[in-house]
Symmetry: C2
């Protein structure tokens, strides 16, 4: 893995068992083995070369038996490129109600069935081995915001111990085709961020993520925390900012030196009719805007959603038609909107990579 | 329009302002300007060369102003082939609660807004002119089942007078690029069916539909009613059996001499996970079956949905994956199922057309 310094941060190509992906990279979200509304073949056409799925969700549904029978997630969902799987740590804390957190791992109830499960560092590695993801994430605890310094510090230390158990288990199981990334925590306490990054980089992880941000903290505190972590992350390994974010946040983080991103924004917003619109490709100032296609004012609008966009939705349909589909609750509307937002984010990354 | 007699009824090509369609033809349903879950370009790939939309639905939403601004439905939904529009008669009687039926037309309340509208024979022609459908249908009254002979007879006579007013209005407005089909009613009273067919064929309609069937009557009564109407329908004009039906019913009706069909079955059933499966292409006996993909037994099934099907869903995905999508309520599942059922029906028509 080599990264080239550019005016806009750095560009690179990361090799995985399922081919390369280019950085800076935005990973489109396929939480439960599908980019909502889209086939994997479509996602690829819009420029995505790596997708993100979730260990927690896939473990609950479809479950490991079905994934094993299908020889892993790639074959199950027919995506032949790289897949990164989040470990499930974040989801256990944000999506489940009853939980017990011990040194061993995180206990939670499946919100649908009520069945109690426990995720341990070793278990999330084993699950990700069945999934067959190209990049596995360590189990981490993601502290809420706000949280006291002492809570964040203790949580961070637990995350370190869990990360090392993940690394150890991966070695023990002789996993070679799957990378493992550690996750830097530390909340908005800059010295904790620095210390955690420094600590984790002592071990030979394949990449480093910055987690626990974009959870409600002020934007400037987020930027400061990213910078604090980056100071100690190695130059020759990928740096992944988890769950961020808006286009302008991605641009800023790329400038800091971040290589990888994921976020539900493009896909989730699309399903509510919220679309990202290019103003220009300068990436400066207000280079993009948003519109809600459900708005009355688009009813008779025969123009495309975004005149600067090259996605099939913008090349084919009018704002009036897409609005009509949303107004009659026709799911094709959500698909056409998702196509546009997915392409918007991939185009953003293309522009970022081209700014050398 | 020429039809060639075959072992399986007849085959033909019907010319419209937006190109030919081949008969026997199954029109895929795009009630409100979209084949639910699919883009028009996809529907075409699966073999559909004509689609059906609905005057009643399009009149209410998006409404005429939006359709006018988009220069008609073809451009609105980006379907370049033939479109047939049902007149809205059937929908006014089946979907709206409060209505007044007079010689003038049918009054109803929009179930969503409560606004009162009236559809008259002249108005449905005018609406269909704005829609720009290649084949317009006359306004008809579709009697419920069961209904008394005297009710059906009176209703049928009203339908005749409305049909003639439609024809007259079309002439007055000098509509040349749009065909107009009459609708034969008469319930399950065979002499009424015969009489109505005979009466309507005195006038120069471009084609004849058989309406008011598949509304709850026994299947054998439906077949007898179709045959009664067909006896009097001209050989050189298309014959369209409205709202029918299951594959074996279509095969039987084609043998009687029917050319055109429409039905919500393939698309609606798909959205509930009910899929049509080929057993063989003989079209004899039980040549097809059905399965519900939500069924537990498909959870680990790595086979395609239908080994005899050439649709993209069957060529790409496993039963286990499509079931997973349904179980997690991911709309991609409904799309993949729709793709299969739409293709199943088009393949059925291809096999029927090839049996010469």
């Amino acid at each position: 893995m080599k990264f080239k310094k550019t005016r806009y941060g750095r560009t690179g190509r990361v090799k995985t068992a399922h081919g390369f992906f280019k950085t800076p990279s935005f990973m489109t979200i396929a939480t439960r083995g599908a980019v909502k509304t889209l086939e994997a073949s479509e996602v690829k056409k819009f420029g995505a070369d790596i997708i993100l799925s979730n260990t927690y969700h896939l473990y609950l549904r479809p479950g490991l038996e079905i994934l094993r029978k299908h020889k892993g997630l790639h074959n199950f969902m027919k995506w032949s490129g790289p897949i990164l799987t989040d470990s499930g740590g974040y989801q256990v804390f944000s999506l489940t109600k009853i939980r017990k957190l011990t040194e061993a791992g995180a206990e939670f109830k499946d919100p649908l069935t009520g069945k109690v499960h426990i995720l341990t560092p070793e278990k999330v590695i084993d699950i990700q081995r069945v999934i067959g993801s190209d990049i596995m994430m360590v189990l981490d605890e993601c502290p809420p915001y706000p949280a006291t310094r002492s809570y964040v510090q203790k949580s961070m230390e637990l995350t370190t111990r869990w990360a090392l158990r993940c690394l150890e288990h991966k070695k023990k199981k002789r996993v070679r085709n799957q990378k493992l990334f550690a996750i830097v925590q530390g909340g908005i306490y800059l010295d904790l961020r620095e210390r955690h990054a420094e600590e984790l980089t002592k071990y030979n992880f394949d990449g480093y993520a910055i987690g626990g941000l974009a959870v409600g903290e002020p934007e400037e505190k987020m930027y400061a925390s990213i910078k604090a972590a980056l100071k100690f992350l190695p130059k020759n390994k990928p740096r992944y900012l988890m769950g961020v974010g808006y286009p302008h946040q991605i641009v800023r983080a790329v400038k800091f030196g971040v290589d990888m991103f994921d976020c539900v924004l493009p896909t989730r917003n699309a399903r509510h009719g919220n679309l990202f619109i290019w103003k220009n490709f300068s990436l400066k100032g207000k280079f993009y805007g948003t519109l809600n296609i459900r708005n009355e004012k688009f009813a008779c609008d025969t123009c495309s959603i975004d005149s600067l966009c090259d996605c099939p939705t913008c090349k084919t349909y009018s704002r009036g038609y897409v609005r009509h589909l949303f107004k009659i609750d026709e799911m094709l509307g959500q698909k056409l909107a998702t196509v546009h937002n997915v392409r918007f984010y991939q185009k953003l990354m293309e522009v970022l990579r081209a700014k050398t």
